[in-house]
Symmetry: C2
């Protein structure tokens, strides 16, 4: 299973692609950020995020997309932009028929560090260890996106496989459902 | 100038198209809502809103889009969905090269009723009067979207024309900028 993790944001939208399955070693394919200039208009910024996410989907063809769930109680000053960036990422995936799953920040932290209250450094250290990297993906938003993808494989893999099997059973023979790859 | 007004929301996204110019009678072309089921997943809902907005843009070919500005301090329970729906509408317009303008609820109220604190009934009454309708567009979200379009024509028209003139001056002769119609 190949997962694109997205840590939504207007200034730096973290993106990370991880290949793997529960019980097998995971492999990081690529991690980075989609940036938009803080002085651009909101329409230009959201369009830039759409183009960036589309490039990542096109280049890596993930089987599913994991997006961080945004809460209204945190970071009131940036939460609207974060919610808007997440909407763009979700629509890009949905348009391709890819399953989208939201994970909360504490689910992600708990999945990769064992603690729902881990800090950025701890997440970076565990991402480095789990993926056998020389150092954590930079910047931190890229590492967070990779952690989301790891969390999704470890937590959500089973439900994705079930959904794919149900979809396949409902699809006429010889035609794969949209977003499914042989 | 033809304006599509969008009052963003996940359950009922208000949409209204108004033709007109400052100092001339305005004409309502169509008003309605894009609905998505409350029990659907967020990816299905945002995709539904994208498809709905695309249909309205395709059918009415507006010159610009006016979207209500979402604030994080209001309606905490629904604000995330509202922000996400607004992002989808903004990206649909930006992708076509249409200018997008955000107006606050009080700017809209002040534009159509003279008071930034007008209630829904007052907005409906003034929209009816300004557009010479038999009654206010229903539901209220459609009337709000129409009020946004009216507000945009009366407030933002000048800045749109300026932006279009600047864009035209920068474009090589014979080639109109994207989104401009002869």
């Amino acid at each position: 299973m190949r997962v694109l993790g997205v840590d939504p944001g207007l200034t730096r939208c973290g993106v990370g692609v991880v290949d793997g399955a529960v019980g097998k070693p995971l492999r990081m394919i690529e991690a980075g950020v989609v940036r938009t200039p803080a002085d651009a208009t909101i329409d230009a910024r959201l369009l830039g995020i759409e183009q960036g996410i589309e490039e990542w989907l096109e280049r890596h063809r993930p089987d599913c997309v994991a997006v961080e769930r945004v809460f209204s109680q945190h970071n009131v000053s940036t939460v609207m932009g974060t919610a808007q960036a997440s909407a763009v990422a979700i629509v890009c995936a949905a348009r391709r028929g890819l399953p989208v799953t939201l994970h909360t920040p504490s689910e992600v932290k708990a999945a990769v560090t064992g603690s729902g209250r881990a800090d950025k450094a701890q997440i970076g250290a565990m991402v480095t260890r789990i993926l056998r990297l020389d150092g954590p993906p930079k910047p931190a938003d890229a590492a967070d996106a990779v952690a989301l993808a790891i969390c999704h494989i470890w937590r959500g893999g089973a439900s994705d496989r079930l959904a794919a099997a149900v979809a396949a059973a409902r699809t006429p023979a010889g035609r794969l459902p949209r977003g499914t790859r042989r």
